[in-house]
Structure formats: C-alpha cells, structure tokens
C-alpha cells in the first residue's frame, strides 16, 4: 500500500471517528461511523486482507449499521439539544483525562513495536479466499461451529428481549 494512500485513509478514519463521537445528530454519527468502517475496510484490503475487507463492507457497513439505523428510526431520536457540559461532569472530566492517558500509553506501547516488520514479504495467495477458508475450516473449525450457535442464540435472544410484552395493558402504563 503506497504511503500516501495510508496517510489519506488514516486521516479520513480519524476524522470520521471524531465525527461519530462529536456530532449532535445521531444519524450523522451513524453516517460518520459508516465512513469509518468503509475506510477501515479499504485499509484491510491494503494490508492484504482482501476478503476480510469486503466482508467488513458487506457485514459491518451493510448490515449491522442498517440495524442501527432502524433502531434510531424506531426510537425516533432527535438531535440532542443539551450541551455536553451537563450531567455527571466529574465523570466526563476524569473520563477525558483517562482517555488521554490511555492514548499516551497505547502510543508508547505500539510505536515501540519491532520496526521494519511491515516490509516482510507475504506468501503468495495471502488473504485470498482459499487460504482464509482452509485456515478457517481446519484450525478454527470448533470456533466456527460455536459461532454459528452463538448467532442462533443472539437471534433468539434479540427477538425475546425486544418483543412487545404480551398481556393486558395496565392502566397508566405507556401504551407501547
């Protein structure tokens, strides 16, 4: 991946990530998050993980975020009118300090990684779907099967939690 492309994608992903947490309108936050996800998908492709990059675009940006969008519509979220400086101010203040400390620590750790490691040549066919499939279905077969059960459990759980409660409407309760 040429360096200028990496710098561009890195800047774009950081700007859109900041857009997620700083915007008032939840739909704008969601659009920023979709942009971040697609940028990271392109970064994946640049790092050789072509299939995983496309899967990120299909699954994450194309399905999970649409689910978020549906929930935002369902809850009819409006633009937030309260400023950030309300609520638990102490939490926010110390939270910001903690986040800054975390940034400093992570930077210190990861930039001391063994340098020059990015220049290794990868085996041919790296990131192709054949290699992904052969690794997935041989070494990680048990994890794969367990994940399918996990998805089934998640489907059943989500429906059970989000379903309207059956039974007579109690007086005074909000009619759902």
């Amino acid at each position: 991946m040429p360096p200028w492309l990496f710098v561009f994608l890195a800047a774009l992903s950081i700007i859109s990530a900041l857009g997620v947490i700083l915007q008032r309108n939840p739909v704008h936050s969601l659009l920023s998050l979709v942009l971040t996800l697609l940028t990271i998908a392109v970064l994946f492709m640049g790092l050789g993980a072509v299939v995983v990059g496309f899967l990120q675009a299909i699954v994450y940006a194309g399905a999970i975020m649409v689910l978020f969008l549906f929930v935002i519509w369902l809850l009819n979220l409006q633009v937030e009118t309260r400023s950030v400086a309300t609520g638990h101010l102490a939490l926010k203040f110390f939270g910001a300090i903690a986040a800054a400390t975390l940034v400093a620590e992570l930077f210190a750790i990861v930039t001391r990684a063994p340098a020059g490691a990015g220049a290794t040549a990868v085996p041919s066919g790296y990131g192709s779907i054949e290699q992904l499939a052969s690794t997935l279905f041989s070494e990680y077969l048990v994890a794969f099967e367990v994940t399918s059960v996990l998805l089934l459990a998640a489907i059943v759980g989500a429906i059970a939690i989000a379903r309207r409660p059956a039974g007579p409407v109690r007086p005074g309760a909000r009619s759902a």
């Binding site: 739909v27 072509v50 194309g62 779907i129």
Partner: protein, 375 residues
C-alpha cells in the same frame, strides 16, 4: 499490492467509461420502454407529441416518442426547481440520491462484456477491472446501496416517504440474503469468484448440442436470483416502497429536478445491472452457443471459420443482446403483474426464497461431492 502499469490503467479507464455509457444507454432504453412499451402492453398510444418545430409532422413521419424520452424528459428533469422540504436535514437530503446512485454505477465495472481479445499484438480483457473477488465486490455494493434510499426517505421530513424508506430498506436487506445464497450456489458450481472466469467456464456444450450455460446447471438459483434481483431493484411486483397508488413515489417523493433524476437513474440502472448479472451468471455472459475461438462448431459437425476479432465482437453483441432481452423481460413483468402486499413480500423473502436458497446450496454441495468436481 502493486498497481498495474499505466497503459493497462488507461485501457481499464476507457473500458469503465464505455461500460458506464452502455449502462446509461440501457437506462434510457428502459425509460423509453416505460413510455412506449407500456403503452403497447396497455393498448394505448403513449408519448408521441414532442417534435422539433413540427418537422416530423410536416414530413408525414409517425412520431415514436423518441424525442419525448431522450430529449424532453431529461431536459425537464434537470431544469426543474430543486427544493428542499421545510424541516428536512439538508445535508443528508442532498447526499442521499448520489449515495443511492454510486454503488449501482460502481458495480458495472466488474462485469465482463467480452473475451480477452488480441488486437495489434496486445491483449485486452474486455472487463474494466479484473477483480478476482468480483462477486464479493458486487455484494458489498448491493449492501451499501441500502443507505441512499433509506436516508433519502428519512431526510425528507415526510411521514409517507419515511414509510417508503422503511419498507424499502427492510425489503432490500431481506432479499439480499436470498440473492447471496443464489450466488453462493453459482460460485460453488464454478469454483471461482471471478466473473470473467465464470464466463469462460460456461463455454462448450453437453451431448453435442446443449450449451453449458448456468441456467441449465443451476435453474433454481436462476429463479431465486431473478426474483431477489427484481425485489432489490424495487420494481413491480415488489414496488411497495414506491407504491404508486399509496405513497406516490415513496422515498423519493420530496425530491425534484436533478436529485429525482438520480433516483430514477438508480432504478433503471439497477434493472440493467440485474440483467447483466443474470446474463453473466446464468446465460453464459458473452458466450455465443457453438462459437469457439476459431469459428462455429455446429452440432452437425459443420465448422464455419471466423477470424478471431469477429469472434470477440460477436461475443460483445451477444452479451448486449442477452442483457437487452432480459431488460425487456423485466419491463414486461413490471407492466403485467400486480403488486405484492407487504406481509406476502416478507413471507416470500424469508419463508420462501431463503429456505429454497439454502436447499439449493446443500443439493449443489451434495452433487459436487458425489460427482467429484464441478459440472
């Protein structure tokens, strides 16, 4: 990842532009079919009034409505006032039509419209980009295409366009699953995600006379893909998001001018895209029956020799012909069938096509394992 050398990039760019022009041309042809073809089906005359200074009428020529569709309608669309409804989210309202249009147009670049031809000593692959994961690219573009429509309907600050947007996005994500399963069966049959190799794999004949097209290997997948594709493009019988008798134009009702043209173009171009994908997966793409590199090998044993360049051009013509036939078929379906009710639509998607798709995948896998290799 190394980028290809510059001449290949230029050739690819030219092919991409050609593909886009073909897509837009097909969209205009579909628009013409909407006016005059629907009139033919409904036993009326259709558009036949636009003329330039009465030239055609004075010469006694019948008016086929060509000027109407190709000049008057686009001019009307692009010169209309572009209003943004009161209380709408301006940024998203402006972004949505182009967010809807971009994935559709971006998918055209991976569709092969011809074989690798050799002209003047260089070989050109008649496909704008040769992605070896083209099917994944196509699926990701279809997945991203939900956003433009959903946000267009939501940002209009209009209850009925929001309703159209919700219906549209629910329908699109439901039928994406069936589409994906049909494609998985096809991918399993050909063993590759590359569209050009899929077209190559559909050459040859069985028993001397039946072309090895995908529709004969995977008939059920073809039907599922056709249904899910029509549902993805939100055409009748799946056009409840637009619902002309209920929601007028559904998610695009608050748009006018160039943005409405973008939404209409999305609709028409997506029809052309589905036709092209059907052609590539199931009708052999640019393969002409009995045509090989050196000429026709007819079933009787006759051999008609044809120069290699003519063979390639025949392939391109065959691809366009198949696409146009499928587009007209989709147009005829649109003007003939009534609309699905919403619960019928969801039931068809989840309880009908999804189990059928899964069963198709399992049967395909079984056949591949039993007969050792792809048929």
């Amino acid at each position: 990842m190394s980028s290809p050398p510059v001449p290949e990039l230029i050739v690819g760019a030219i092919e991409a532009i050609v593909m886009l022009l073909v897509a837009l041309g097909l969209a205009m042809m579909l628009l013409y079919f909407e006016r005059k073809g629907s009139a033919l089906i409904q036993d009326r005359i259709g558009a036949n009034r636009a003329n330039i200074l009465g030239v055609g009428r004075r010469l006694g020529l019948p008016n086929f409505g060509l000027l109407n569709t190709f000049i008057a309608d686009p001019v009307k669309m692009f010169t209309k006032e572009d209003f943004v409804p009161d209380g709408a989210d301006k940024f998203v309202h402006a972004l949505a039509p182009f967010l809807a249009l971009f994935p559709v147009l971006a998918t055209f670049v991976v569709i092969p419209f011809g074989d690798t031809i050799a002209v003047a000593g260089r070989s050109f692959n008649l496909q704008a980009t040769n992605l070896n994961v083209a099917v994944l690219y196509m699926l990701s573009m279809i997945g991203v295409g939900v956003y433009g429509i959903a946000l267009g309907g939501w940002s209009s600050n209009n209850r009925w366009s929001l309703l159209g947007a919700i219906r549209a996005s629910a329908q699109m994500i439901s039928y994406e699953l069936a589409l994906g399963l049909a494609i998985i069966s096809v991918v399993m049959t050909y063993g590759t995600l590359d569209l050009q190799q899929m077209c190559h794999a559909q050459s040859g004949v069985w028993w001397g006379w039946l072309p090895r097209w995908g529709i004969f290997t995977q008939p059920l997948a073809c039907i599922i893909f056709l249904t899910a594709g029509v549902a993805e493009t939100k055409r009748i019988p799946f056009d409840l998001p637009e619902g002309e008798s209920e929601l007028v134009l559904g998610y695009s009702v608050e748009y006018s001018g160039g943005k409405q043209a973008a939404f209409m173009l999305t609709d028409l171009a997506e029809q052309a895209l589905v036709s092209m994908l059907l052609t590539t997966f199931f009708l052999g793409g640019w393969q002409v029956p009995y045509l090989y590199h050196d000429g026709f090998h007819l079933p009787g044993g006759a051999l008609i020799a044809i120069p290699a360049l003519a063979v390639s051009i025949l392939g391109v013509i065959a691809f366009l012909l198949k696409t146009v036939v499928l587009c007209l078929f989709l147009g005829m379906v649109r003007w003939t069938l009534p609309r699905f009710r919403y619960d019928q639509l969801m039931r068809l998607g989840w309880k009908g096509l999804l189990p059928l798709g899964l069963a198709n995948v399992m049967v395909t896998a079984l056949v591949i394992v039993m007969f050792g290799g792809t048929r």
